[in-house]
Structures are given as C-alpha cells and as structure tokens.
C-alpha cells in the first residue's frame, strides 16, 4: 500500500510537470504578445520592449520555463501581468467560491442521480425506468449555458425566486448548483442504475430477501453499499473535471470563482494567471483520481489484496 502510494505520488508529480511544460509552451509559442497587450495600443516599440524585458519575456523559452519551475516548487506561481498581484493570492481568494459551487453542484448531482438511478433499477424495464433513462439522456446531451440561461429566465427573471447573479447568500448558490446538478445527474443515474442491477442479481441479495427483510432494507443496507464503488470513483473524477469546467457557469452567473478569474485572464493574455489556474485544475484532477483510487479499497475489501 505504501509503495503503491509512493509510486502514484511520483507519477502524479511527473504528470503535473508535463502539464506545466505543455501549457507553458502553448502559451508562449502562440501568436499573442502579453507585453503588447499590457502596453496598450498607442505604446511605442521602446515601451513594449521595456515591458518585455521587465517581465523576463526577452529570455529564451527554456530559461523562462526553468525559472518558472524553480519558483513553482517553492509554491510561487508568479505575478499577474495586469493586476500586479501574486497569482497564488488571487487564486486563493477565488477558491472558496468555486469550492462552494462544487460542493453544492456535486450534492445536487449525486442526490438526483442516485435517487433516480436506484428507482430505475428497481423498476427495470418498466415505464418509470424508461422515463428516467430518457431524462438522463437528455440531461447528458444538454448544453450547460442553455440550461443556465433557461433557469435564469424562469426562476430569476420571471418568477423572481432567486437573484440573477452574484455571490454571498444561499439563494445565490441555488441556480448555479442546479445547472451543474441537472446536467451531471444523468451520468450518475446511468451509473447507479447499472451498478444496482448488477448487485440486485447477486445471490446475497436473494438470500436477504429470502430471510424476509423488507424491500427497503434490502436495497439500502445490502445492495446500495455494494453498488456505491463506481459512484465514489465517479465523484473523485468529477471533482477533478469540475475546476476546468466552471468557466461557463461562472461566466453566466457572475460567480466570482477561479473560472471567472481564468476567463478574465484569457481575455487579457495574462499568462501567469492562466498557467496558475490550469495547474490548479490539473492538480485537482490528479488528486480527485488519486482519492477515488485510495477510497475504493476502504469501501470494498476485495480490492485491498491487489
């Protein structure tokens, strides 16, 4: 277990290094000049040149990258070009908002997905099963921004139940969390259904039924814990994907998280921030996968021996 963990940690660090290298090359090789953006339209060539030197952009790409890595291992993500602030500070300030949204979104997702998935599995082949699975398919195919705009139109603009945008109260979280939840629930419902069907067909469930246990007790105490593994794994992967995927929802709802930070930075070619957010997202993806893999043996002892 310890060696496995050590191996995975080394692997994770290498992957993170690779992500940093690719992002770095992409950002600096592309035809966007941050010095030009910063200097403004009317700046002279001399001013642009000075800014370029000041930011260290006149150095060769490799030495720039090594310099960046040297700072990175000390936890220094560099300074924002436009805002003149430490990137780490900017991200840390935005992280609570994104984490709140993530927790609320995943809660809605799992709640809806599990409930409908289990109900569908118990009614396998019936009308309820078909309706649930069809809805799950629609949810999986729906574009996030359209759902976000529709929820805004119905529940904020027309009914006035929730605020249009912003951050701070519970009411502000509801619509963004619903947007993420409605879309993600489809995946969970499909997965929960097939996992439950697998488990419900097994002998121990039949034994539990034969013992005369109530239907609800069989499902919740005997079948569900055995079907939960793929769902836990999925939550881990979800947490990772989440960070990179919040740009759209945060843009529509004016949610002040790292997605919004990234979106503003992209428009200003503020490379240190883009690097910082990309690395934070990659880190989240790696940690999410790692956590999913590590939790699996705790839930299911059969995996431990491998």
């Amino acid at each position: 277990m310890a060696t496995l963990l050590a191996k995975r940690l080394v692997q994770s660090c290498l992957i993170l290094l690779g992500v940093a290298a690719i992002t770095f090359v992409l950002l600096y090789a592309l035809p966007a000049d941050p010095a030009r953006m910063l200097a403004g339209r009317s700046a002279t060539a001399q001013t642009v040149e000075n800014i370029r030197r000041e930011l260290g952009l006149d150095q060769p790409l490799l030495s720039q990258f090594l310099h960046y890595l040297g700072n990175l291992v000390q936890g220094d993500l560099g300074r924002s070009y436009a805002q003149k602030t430490e990137v780490a500070t900017l991200i840390a300030a935005r992280l609570p908002a994104t984490l709140t949204l993530m927790a609320a979104g995943i809660f809605v997702e799992v709640l809806l997905g599990l409930t409908f998935g289990i109900v569908a599995a118990l009614n396998r082949g019936g009308a309820i099963d078909r309706i649930v699975m069809a809805s799950a398919f629609v949810g999986v195919s729906a574009p996030q921004f359209v759902v976000a705009l529709l929820l805004l139109y119905v529940f904020a603009a027309t009914l006035g139940w929730f605020p249009m945008s912003g951050y701070g109260t519970v009411a502000h979280v509801v619509l963004p969390a619903m947007t993420l939840g409605i879309l993600g629930a489809g995946w969970y419902a499909r997965m929960a259904r097939s996992a439950m069907i697998d488990v419900l067909n097994q002998d121990f469930v039949r034994t539990a039924r034969a013992k005369g246990l109530s239907g609800r007790r069989v499902v919740l105490r005997h079948a569900l814990p055995n079907a939960i593994l793929p769902i836990v794994a999925m939550i881990g992967i979800d947490i990772g994907q989440f960070m990179g995927g919040v740009v759209v929802v945060e843009a529509v709802y004016g949610w002040p998280g790292i997605g919004q930070l990234a979106w503003q930075a992209i428009q200003q070619v503020d490379i240190p921030i883009i690097m910082g957010v990309t690395l934070t997202s990659a880190f989240a993806i790696i940690v999410g996968n790692l956590v999913a893999d590590l939790i699996a043996p705790m839930i299911d002892p059969r995996i431990r021996s491998h």
Partner: protein, 282 residues
Amino acid sequence: MRVLKELCRQPAAVFGLVIVLAVVFAAIAAPWLAPYAPDNQMFDGLTLEGAPMPPGEQFALGTDTLGRDLLSRLLYGARTSLIIGLVANGIAVAIGLFVGVTAGYMRGWVGGLLMRFTDLMMAFPALLLAIVLAAILKPSLWIVAMVIALVNWVQVARIVYTETRGLVERDFIMAERALGAGNARIVLLHVLPHLLPTAIVWGTLGIATTVLLEATLSFLGIGVQPPQPSWGNIIFESQSYFQAAPWLVFFPGAVILLTALAFNLVGDALRDILDPTQRGRG
C-alpha cells in the same frame, strides 16, 4: 445493412436517426429551405421600437437583434455545426486510432511513451485548454475544429489502445505473424478492420460532444465568429437580450440539445449492436 435493421428495431435509435437525417438535410438544403438570407438585416425584421420580432406569420421563429430571420440563421447554423462535427471528430478519431494502435501494437518504449502522453492529456482540464487555445488563436471555423480535435482524441486513443492489446494476443494475429506477414500488413488488414466498430461508435458519440463544445466556445464569443451563423453564437449575440426575447435563446438551445441527443442516441444504440458484451447494460 444488418446494423441498420437492428437500429430500426429500437424506437429511441429511430428517433435519433430521424433527427440526425433532418439536421443533415437542413445543412445541405439550407439555401433552398431558408426563407431569407441568413445575414440579411431586414428593416421590417424589427419592431417600431427597434426590438426583435417574436415568432409570427412573417418570421416563423422570430428575428434577432439585428432584424435577421432566426429560422434562416438556424438552418445555416446546421452547416457550421455539422462541418465542425465531422472535421473535428474525423481528426480526433484519426489521431486516436493512430496513437492507440501504435501504442497497443508496438508496446516497448514507443508504446509506453505514447500512453504516458495520453495519461498526461487526461489530466489536462479539457474545456479550459480549449477555451485558452480558441481565445489566443484567431477564431475561425477551422481553428475551432482543430481545437476540439486536439481535446477529443484522448478518449478514443485509450479505448483503441485497450482493444488493440487484446487483439494482438489473439490467435489469428499470431498465425499471421507466424506466416511471415509484416507489421504494416497485419495492422492494415487485420487490426484496423476489427477496430472499425469502435471507431464508428466513438465517431458518432463524439459528434454530440463536438456540437456541444462548439456551441459553448461560440457562446463565449471565441468560437465561430458572426456574421457566420452558428447555434452557439446566435445565443452569444442575444444573451443580454434574452429576457425580452427568450425565443433567441430557446430555439437555438433546443436545436443544440436535440442534435446532441440524437447523436448520443444513435451512438449508444450502435454500441449495443456492434459490441454485444455491452448489451443490456447502462
């Protein structure tokens, strides 16, 4: 033919297939179907106050903020979506097949290196990467297709890799090799044909992802650029107006949803038919 027959036995797949064919027809026949030119800013396309016209007799789905006919723009938008869907996905499946087959067939350090690179790409926040690339490169239809392909090949590569490794172990490949067949011959004549179903299934499912991704990029203003109509940029252009003219979000949104749903339904049914081990699950 067998596949098509089996496809027609599933109501959901038939529903999907009908919509797919409708979108293809709309894309091809847009010039004849569209009641107006898609970029014609009509004087009578706006109300006296200069607001967009709601759906009515003259404009079936209403007009946008510049007085252009929404129905015509949606029909031409089908072209944009399908072109990007086919190009981006074609490239993604091709890269995925190449990387997956090479890694699965070669093993050794080449295979190891390719799969480590694929692992690396899996850790990349895909949507963020697409947004960064699309924003920094000058956006155009082809750039959007490239960006989407660059993000979407990874999943195909992983699946193809696993399948290829299974295939290489099979007796008929061993027999070919024992008979002295070269690598190129084995891959082209024996490995690739067996991967065709996988490529078809993921190619179909991938179009759904692509349509959604293109719409998202265009919605953010970094995808297909107006005046060229795309379902995403129609919403982008009118989102600040959507309280007064909800049809400008509702109709394009419905079209995006239906198209993605249709490709997902067909792809899922194809997977059931072409890969019997998956049957009855999910």
